[in-house]
């Protein structure tokens, strides 16, 4: 082998090494980016009275891909059909349109002896709080907090059909939204939480 050929081979070898390191870096960055972008739906039920706990962790990408394939009962192609009887003549789309365009505000406030109900729009979220003290045995009462990003609500009602909820679109919107505690139901013995975040485990 001539000295020139030897030099060329060494140069090619070095370039290949650089290319290999670059490819590895790109692959590693792509993997990190992909892992970071995945969102998880968590459901946690703690039953202190019976000493029981249930944790469900579901990658939203699974829900998003699986849901449109289910065709059973009222669920078809990722949409749930709601009968007119369930809607009870209420034009939900018109109500949501009014809420969307309205500034942050409390829309419904009901205060009774044993119950408080509050429905509001706050920081781009639809917020529902219910406090129920009607059960005399339960001194703490029951607390229900629901926080749904308006984008998710919009996606839910994004289908052209009036009597359908687009669950698949809502899940997609949920994936695009930030980390959020969606539902919290708490009474004397049980605590149920549903939330979305970027962690695959249910530590919160």
């Amino acid at each position: 082998m001539t000295p020139r050929m030897n030099h060329t081979m060494k140069t090619i070898g070095k370039r290949l090494q650089v290319a290999a390191v670059f490819c590895l870096l790109v692959t590693a960055m792509a993997t990190v980016a992909r892992a970071g972008s995945e969102k998880y739906l968590h459901v946690k039920v703690d039953d202190a009275e019976n000493g029981e706990s249930v944790n469900v962790n579901l990658p939203l990408s699974i829900a998003e891909k699986v849901l449109p394939t289910v065709n059973k009962g009222n669920l078809h192609a990722g949409c749930v059909h709601i009968s007119n009887a369930d809607m009870d003549g209420v034009d939900i789309k018109a109500i949501l349109d009014a809420i969307r365009t309205a500034p942050d505000n409390e829309f419904v406030t009901v205060k009774e002896k044993d119950q408080d109900v509050r429905v509001a729009k706050s920081n781009g979220n639809l917020v529902i709080h219910v406090r129920d003290m009607s059960d005399k045995k339960d001194k703490k009462g029951q607390k229900v907090d629901i926080t749904v990003p308006m984008k998710v609500v919009d996606a839910l009602f994004s289908t052209a059909k009036k009597d359908e909820l687009d669950i698949a679109a809502a899940i997609r919107a949920l994936g695009d939204a930030g980390d959020a505690l969606l539902v919290s139901v708490e009474d004397a013995s049980q605590h149920v939480r549903i939330w979305v975040d970027s962690k695959s485990s249910s530590d919160r």
């Binding site: 998880y40 019976n50 249930v54 944790n55 962790n57 990658p59 699974i62 289910v70 065709n71 059973k72």
Partner: protein, 149 residues
């Protein structure tokens, strides 16, 4: 002597390739430990490739019935399996109470079910690829036209 060496090498290579092929779909592991009254340990590791092979020996009518039942859910199962393959390791479901601890997880390309009870612990690990090939074999089987009783 050289010829003998080549023959031995050929056999060794074939054996290695055979073992590699046998374990290419991973391992199904069933691990049961009975704690009381006497400690029994049952550990069954089996190549996942044997499951679809074993299905060829299953009674045709049973396969046809399973095929008919699973057919409406094939798109859902296929989508779920494909997504599970892609996603990182995760505990999907975990249930704990005073007596039991049940965990269903995706771990290293397998679906793992762990059950811990007072009397025994059970660990079952099945490669997702094996689940997928079983589903595809059921899908390919001729579905029965009769409904189950």
């Amino acid at each position: 002597m050289l010829l003998l060496g080549k023959i031995v090498l050929g056999f060794a290579a074939t054996a290695a390739a055979g073992v590699g092929l046998l374990y290419s779909d991973g391992m199904i592991v069933v691990d049961v430990v009975e704690k009381q009254p006497e400690r029994h340990h049952i550990y069954v590791p089996a190549p996942a490739l044997l499951v679809p092979v074993g299905m060829h020996f299953a009674p045709k009518e049973k396969l046809a019935e399973a095929s008919r039942e699973i057919r409406p859910w094939l798109p859902t199962i296929r989508a779920a399996v494909a997504q599970l393959r892609e996603c990182e390791d995760i505990t999907l479901v975990e249930v704990k109470n005073h007596d039991e601890h049940v965990r269903v997880a995706k771990s290293g390309g397998s679906i793992v079910v762990d059950v811990e009870e007072e009397d025994d612990t059970v660990h079952v690990s099945t490669p997702i690829r094996a689940i997928s090939s079983v589903i595809e074999q059921l899908a390919a089987a001729e579905p029965s036209t009769q409904s189950a009783p």
